[in-house]
């Protein structure tokens, strides 16, 4: 009997530790990271809203390797890369892509996973492409993101490892 009680206690503790671990790793990013503001790009409204989250696509999600510094011309799918960001006006823009993060005079790097790379066009996923919204509120953001120009921007926090988290979503009216 005691054994079962102990097992129940261990499972309960395991669950609490796992939940706290998940929270702690994200909190670490939020506490230690630097803020960057990223510009979103309009997306196809049919693919835009699925249920209760908003799909976000950034200008830095699609990179033209002819336009920015890159250590190689091709990256394979699923590969982790580090994109160097530089503040240009209000928004941060991508200036270089590399496979390993290097200390580049305190430069800001964001970690991305290669989704697609063809003809020197690189599509990346930064883990900040979904923004969960209260039920029914996604439509408003959708309206602001469609059309020729998006008026939605995202304030993200990037920690020293390049991991990013969404802090705020701004809708400019």
């Amino acid at each position: 009997m005691m054994n079962k009680k102990l097992i129940a206690a261990i499972i309960g503790l395991l669950w609490v530790l796992l939940a706290l671990g998940m929270i702690a790793s994200k909190q670490h990013t939020l506490r230690t990271g630097k803020i960057v503001v990223l510009e979103t790009v309009p997306v196809d409204p049919r693919d835009f809203l699925r249920g209760d989250y908003v799909v976000l696509s950034y200008k830095i999600s699609r990179l033209d390797l002819n336009q920015i510094e890159s250590e190689k011309p091709f990256y394979r799918r699923g590969e982790n890369v580090y994109v160097r960001l530089k503040a240009q006006g209000r928004f941060w823009q991508a200036v270089a892509v590399q496979s390993k993060k290097s200390s580049y005079g305190g430069a800001m790097f964001i970690k991305g996973r290669v989704e697609y790379c063809y003809d020197k066009q690189l599509t990346l996923n930064y883990g900040i492409e979904s923004y969960f919204v209260p039920e029914g509120q996604g439509r408003e953001i959708e309206k602001n993101m469609t059309g020729s120009k998006s008026s939605v921007s995202v304030e993200a926090i990037v920690d020293s490892g390049g991991n990013a988290l969404i802090k705020k979503v701004y809708i400019d009216r």
Binding site: I11, W15, V16, L18, A19, R50, G127, E129, S130
Partner: protein
């Protein structure tokens, strides 16, 4: 194209065979197993007689199903409803309570439910069922907690696999240490979902999934049939998915694992069926990766599986073995056609199936003469493959596709197959076979199929002649069945002949009618004619069957 064509063709054949051969038989067996205790209870038969009846069909006595306890149903449904309610609540992203307070509250409720589940299961007497349901509820709450944390930190939907994995793994100890079947089923189901999410999101084969199933979920599901079925289905689905993603090693890994499980637990034949199907997936996945190198390694598992099928007399698997072999032959043809640069048009593919079907049929005749096992499966399978192929070839539009290109090569391939079949038949005649009238009828249909196939391959440009040839073979098939059915006094064989004949008439009528401008009148008159013809044929069929019975 090659893969899809192969899959579609064999799925049709498998479906028909399953329906014809096993579906009805299994239904009758199940009925017998259910009814037998009732006859014994009413003293219509004695238990010994009951056992004797079961022995004839090699059936086991089934235990009457335990009646579902009302309390069990209510507590289980209640737990599922509350659990789903919480998950939906998390989904609604209700923001009146701060996110972290929400998480803390849900985590506290989850752990408390876990504790209550333990208390009612082990400390309070008479509440075991409630305890089990509470443990399931705690597992559902845990999923809600993980989803909530994922939502708060906006973990992208492309990482949903990570959320599902974090849900599934930590609930496994509840299934194992508290023997909770519900949670085992839930975890098994979650692992299936995780596997697909992981593979799709990361575009890599997921080797962890079969490892988890083979070494964790299946060994711990020994008394839980539903869970075993979910895990086996998950493995098979994962293996089939490999065909479309060029993950040939993963598919092989799953196939070998399933085969090993069959060797360990022979009483569960489902492992052998799924291993066979999984090896077919491997053959296809291998082909998609290395189109230019035929997979001769495949013959090793085919040999092992065929041996086990015979040794353990697994009747149903004999059909799968035949499909396995024919899929391999087709993929090998494709590979060689690519290597030598010959086109492999749909027409040639179908002609080859007709020939292979005829080959399997001959194997059935020889097996029957020598009283080998499964001869009837060979005959029905071979006949069906040949018939479906010839039926498809009877459409002129199909014979008109890609009328040129590389067909000479297939003519020679066909010649080899025909020569091989002819040698087998001659050998059989030499040993005294094909003497009775029934055998001669079968031989007649077989010869028509072989000859027809050769003509079509020899002269692919002549679509009209080929259509006439294929239709003639179809009519010969119908007539053979009708006369053979009367000869051997087997109503199903006779009825099959009538069905083929009716199918032939209807198909050709629609074929012609479709090209006419004035379709309505044609179809109304045609429909009436077919209805009258159908009634006439049905009357004749019944009369002859009645006569056969007398």
């Amino acid at each position: 194209m090659a893969v899809i064509l192969n899959l579609v063709f064999w799925i049709i054949i498998l479906y028909i065979i399953g329906k014809l051969f096993f579906g009805r038989r299994r239904k009758v067996y199940r009925w017998l197993q259910r009814e037998l205790p009732l006859w014994e209870e009413k003293n219509i038969i004695s238990p010994d007689q009951g056992n004797a009846i079961l022995n004839i069909y090699k059936l086991k006595r089934v235990r009457p199903k335990a009646r579902m306890d009302m309390v069990k149903v209510l507590t289980l449904v209640g737990a599922v409803f509350v659990g789903l309610g919480v998950i939906f609540f998390v989904g609604s992203n209700w923001q009146r309570i701060p996110a972290h307070l929400r998480t803390a509250m849900l985590l506290a409720v989850t752990v408390s439910t876990l504790y209550l589940g333990y208390v009612f299961s082990y400390e309070k007497e008479g509440f075991t069922q409630l305890g089990k349901s509470l443990l399931l509820l705690a597992s559902l709450f845990w999923g809600g907690t993980v989803a909530l944390i994922g939502q708060i930190y906006n973990i992208p939907t492309s990482d949903n696999w990570y959320i599902v994995l974090l849900w599934a793994f930590p609930i496994v100890p509840i299934a194992l240490f508290f023997n909770n079947n519900y949670v085992h089923i839930l975890a098994s189901f979650l692992f299936v979902i995780w596997n697909f999410l992981y593979t799709v999101s990361n575009s890599t084969p997921n080797y962890y999934y079969p490892l988890i199933v083979f070494f964790l979920m299946l060994p711990t599901a020994h008394s839980l049939l539903i869970s075993r079925r979910i895990n086996i289905a998950g493995l098979l689905a994962a293996s089939i998915y490999c065909c479309f993603n060029k993950y040939e090693w993963l598919s092989l890994f799953i196939s070998v694992g399933l085969l090993a499980y069959y060797l360990l637990r022979k009483e569960e034949r489902v492992y052998l069926y799924t291993a066979t199907l999984s090896f077919i997936s491997w053959a296809i996945a291998y082909f998609t990766v290395r189109e230019l190198s035929p997979n001769f390694y495949f013959l090793i598992p085919v040999g092992i599986i065929s041996y086990l099928t015979y040794k353990d007399a697994v009747r149903e698997n004999a059909v799968l073995c035949l499909i396995t072999l024919l899929v391999w032959l087709n993929l090998t043809f494709y590979s060689y056609s690519r290597i030598f640069g010959y086109a492999f048009p749909v027409r040639n593919f179908i002609v080859l199936q007709a020939l292979l079907g005829a080959g399997v049929y001959v194997a059935g005749i020889i097996s029957q003469a020598r009283k080998y096992a499964f001869f009837e499966i060979y005959k029905v399978f071979g006949y069906l493959v040949a018939f479906v192929s010839i039926y498809l070839l009877s459409f002129r539009s199909l014979l008109e596709i890609e009328m040129s290109g590389g067909s000479r090569v297939y003519f020679y391939v066909a010649l080899y197959i025909i020569a091989f079949i002819a040698l087998a038949v001659i050998n059989e005649i030499r040993k005294g076979g094909f003497r009775i009238k029934a055998d001669q009828w079968e031989f007649f249909a077989l010869a028509a199929a072989l000859l027809g196939s050769a003509v079509i391959l020899l002269n692919p440009q002549a679509a009209l002649i080929n259509t006439i040839v294929a239709n003639s073979v179809l009519v010969i098939f119908a007539l053979t069945n009708i006369f053979l059915g009367v000869e051997i006094k087997k109503p199903p064989v006779f009825s099959a002949g009538i069905i083929i004949f009716a199918l032939f008439i209807i198909t050709r009528y629609i074929d012609v009618g479709w090209k006419l401008k004035e379709k309505s009148l044609f179809f109304i008159i045609g429909g009436l004619v077919i209805l009258s013809l159908g009634t006439f044929l049905e009357k004749q069929r019944r009369r002859i069957i009645e006569r056969m019975k007398v």
